[in-house]
């Protein structure tokens, strides 16, 4: 039986169990992720990190999760109440919804019922994840707008622009995977990777997906919507208590989703990694074992998220947008055309693999030669160079001429006076008060 048929047979109690497990999975993963992130970043920065609650501070997340909902809730006077309430909900629900199409494992037996470790296998499963992430932005944007203060609004605007641009790059990077697997269903994509994982077959797609998934989840170095040094807290500056907790939850669940999605698309989903897959005719790819591989791969990506946050400085907003629109999207389009051309050639004509590789190699060599022939761009000429008196340090020149103040002053004064005449009446009035 196919995956879809197996899933269609599920009795209602099994569907409920799966749904509850997925819901818990998001919450538990968030708590684990927060404590791990704090511990790992602390280690990277040579400090102890949380170390008070429980053994070595490992229960800190639980304490925080209990504390946060009980904190005082402050709603700004200028907030648009209804939208302010709606925003955290709109950001959390789509995040959890996307879990439903992720295939966690192959056919197993739960209480005697044959089923697949997946809630639903739609023929358009990939689109479900994209739709959920595009709905999740509403939460952030509306939170920024409804708070009624400048910094959250800026955060919301940034987030809208950022997520839309990076969703384009993300969607395009998935196109190559769909072309190779010939299906939009997540389960089929995993099955098609039995002959080879896509992360090395489609390297450019994987790289672009990886970059855009970090941009999509607003994580460092792309965490511009909540850039602490620029926007206080960004879109959630005015949020507190449970509502803030929901934003937190949504962000971390989104990270788990994009990591799980990346595993599904490029890393063979629940399939056992190479040396293990050779044991006993792929015994470790049956039953409940694949769950281990799936979560192992997902947590590697989650670790990379933390690693990047501990390592890279935040990008400037214009640099970030330039990367998205001028590098990732065009590179992706060229790559898609290439993939389509290659597949068309292989499908249409009878070319042996060796001829194919030889022709490809020659084409690559010609391309490299052409690149070498291109004239190098001359370095931009520097402006007037600071005169240096010696020793290599930029010290003031010996014949330094201090600007003549007497020459400068009258002009300034004249201008000031001119301004004062224009605004004279106002100035006097203010001075009188």
């Amino acid at each position: 039986m196919t995956r879809a048929q197996l899933l269609a047979d599920d009795p209602i109690w099994l569907i409920l169990i799966k749904a509850v497990v997925l819901l818990l999975l998001g919450a538990v993963a968030t708590m684990a992720m927060i404590i791990l992130e704090r511990k790992i970043v602390a280690r990277m920065q040579h400090r102890p990190g949380p170390n008070r609650v429980g053994p070595n501070g490992w229960f800190q997340s639980i304490a925080d999760a209990i504390k946060l909902p009980f904190k005082e809730q402050i709603i700004p006077d200028t907030a648009d109440r209804k939208v302010y309430f709606l925003a955290p909900i709109m950001s959390t629900i789509p995040a959890f919804l996307a879990f439903s199409v992720i295939p966690f494992g192959p056919e197993v037996s739960i209480f005697g019922e044959r089923t697949v470790l997946q809630l639903v296998d739609l023929p358009v499963g990939v689109l479900v994840v994209l739709a959920c992430s595009s709905m999740g932005v509403y939460g952030i944007v509306l939170a920024g707008w409804s708070s009624g203060s400048p910094y959250p609004l800026l955060g919301g605007l940034r987030s809208a622009a950022q997520v839309i641009s990076y969703e384009i790059a993300m969607g395009l990077s998935i196109v190559a995977v769909i072309l190779y697997s010939g299906s939009l269903s997540t389960g089929d994509i995993v099955d098609k990777q039995a002959s080879g994982w896509y992360f090395y077959l489609l390297i450019p797609s994987f790289v672009i997906y990886f970059i855009s998934m970090i941009g999509e989840t607003n994580r460092a170095p792309f965490d511009l919507p909540e850039a602490e040094s620029e926007l206080v807290g960004g879109f959630h500056t005015e949020y507190s208590s449970m509502k803030f907790a929901l934003f937190f939850l949504a962000e971390y669940v989104n990270m788990v989703i994009v990591s799980a999605f990346c595993t599904t698309l490029f890393f063979g989903g629940y399939m056992a990694p190479w040396p293990i897959s050779l044991i006993d005719e792929n015994y470790f790819n049956t039953g409940w074992w694949p769950l281990l591989w799936f979560f192992g791969k997902t947590w590697i990506f989650l670790f990379v998220f933390i690693w990047l946050r501990g390592t890279l400085p935040r990008m400037r907003y214009d640099q970030f947008m330039r990367l998205g629109w001028k590098v990732l999207v065009p590179a992706n389009l060229v790559w898609i055309v290439l993939v389509v051309a290659l597949r068309a050639i292989r499908n249409e004509s009878e070319i042996s693999t060796s001829t194919f590789l030889i022709v490809g190699g020659i084409a690559l060599l010609v391309l490299i030669g052409v690149v070498f022939l291109l004239p190098e761009r001359a370095p931009a000429p520097d402006g007037p160079v600071v005169p240096v008196t010696g020793g290599g340090y930029p010290v003031p020149p010996l014949d330094l001429k201090v600007p003549d103040k007497a020459d400068l002053k009258p002009r300034v004064r004249r201008r000031r006076e001119k301004a004062a005449v224009g605004a004279g009446a106002d100035v006097q009035k203010e001075a009188g008060q």
Partner: protein, 278 residues
């Protein structure tokens, strides 16, 4: 086959789940549409429209068109409405529609075209009820293909490739046109570079060469509303930002004055004491 017969046939084919979905989503979509028309706030209007589009997307999914449903959600709610919201947020939360007619005869033509569009839509829907025979999209082999997504892809890239390309050409033209019209070069707008600005400041073309002083940070407070102190201990007026506490100060101005006792007392000729007309 008459319309009545077809309607009866369709009625017998509707499953319970589909009926429930329709009776939940239909009113929601309608409420969203009405809400969009009657909401005072532009952002609320946009949100009601999002509700309508989401309901329509789910209705498509229920009608065995999952691809169409999710594309509706991704493209319309995810991208287009988001851009709408983006613009509305930039315009400002409290801005309302202008009642001044900018283009002459705008309303008349809007009414004429609106009625025309309504007639077209009603005609198309009526034709769909009477002439078109539904074949259904359920099942892998419906419409003689390998499922819904496969069929749409095949139709788009074979029979409808020219209209499809034409639409994309139209959209690109529109986007490029908007960019050409909207783009203003920095130099024609007369904006200076940072270097030119610095030089201008030091030539004395601005009020002061340096930025305004920052807020004071003392042991008692680190609020941005704290004024900086000058060397002689007096408050540096320039360090106080009107912008940061504009909302609160404007709102609380009266109360502050009342507490400070600087509010003008009751008018001798007024019947009720207290509030100053503003």
């Amino acid at each position: 086959m008459s319309a009545l017969l077809l309607a009866q046939e369709a009625a017998t084919h509707v499953t319970t789940g589909e009926a429930i979905a329709f009776w939940v989503l239909g009113p929601l979509a309608l409420a969203g549409g009405l809400g969009m028309l009657f909401a005072r706030n532009a952002v609320h209007s946009a949100l009601f429209l999002v509700l309508t589009m989401l309901s329509l997307g789910v209705i498509y999914m229920v009608q065995q068109g999952p691809f169409l449903g999710f594309v509706q959600i991704i493209v319309y709610t995810g991208a287009i409405m988001m851009l709408f919201l983006f613009v509305l947020m930039l315009v400002g939360r409290d801005s309302s529609d202008s009642v001044v007619e900018v283009l002459r005869g705008q309303r008349l033509w809007a009414t004429v075209f609106g009625v025309g569009l309504a007639v077209l839509i009603v005609a198309a829907v009526a034709r769909a009820f009477t002439d078109v025979r539904p074949v259904g999209l359920a099942g892998e082999t419906a419409n003689g293909g390998q499922g819904n997504v496969y069929n749409i892809g095949k139709a788009l890239f074979t029979d409808y490739v020219f209209p499809f390309e034409l639409t994309s050409a139209l959209l690109i033209t529109a986007a490029v046109g908007a960019m050409v019209l909207g783009y203003v070069d920095r130099h024609t707008r007369g904006r200076k570079t940072q270097k030119e600005l610095v030089e201008a400041r030091f030539r004395g073309e601005h009020d002061r060469p340096s930025p305004l002083p920052g807020p004071g940070v003392f042991a008692t407070s680190n609020s941005v509303a704290t004024p900086a102190l000058l060397p002689d201990g007096s408050v540096a007026e320039e360090s106080l930002s009107r912008l940061i506490d504009a909302t609160a100060s404007a709102k609380l101005d009266e109360e502050r004055k009342a507490v400070a006792g600087t509010l003008p007392g009751p008018d001798a000729r007024a019947l009720a004491p207290g509030k100053e007309e503003s």
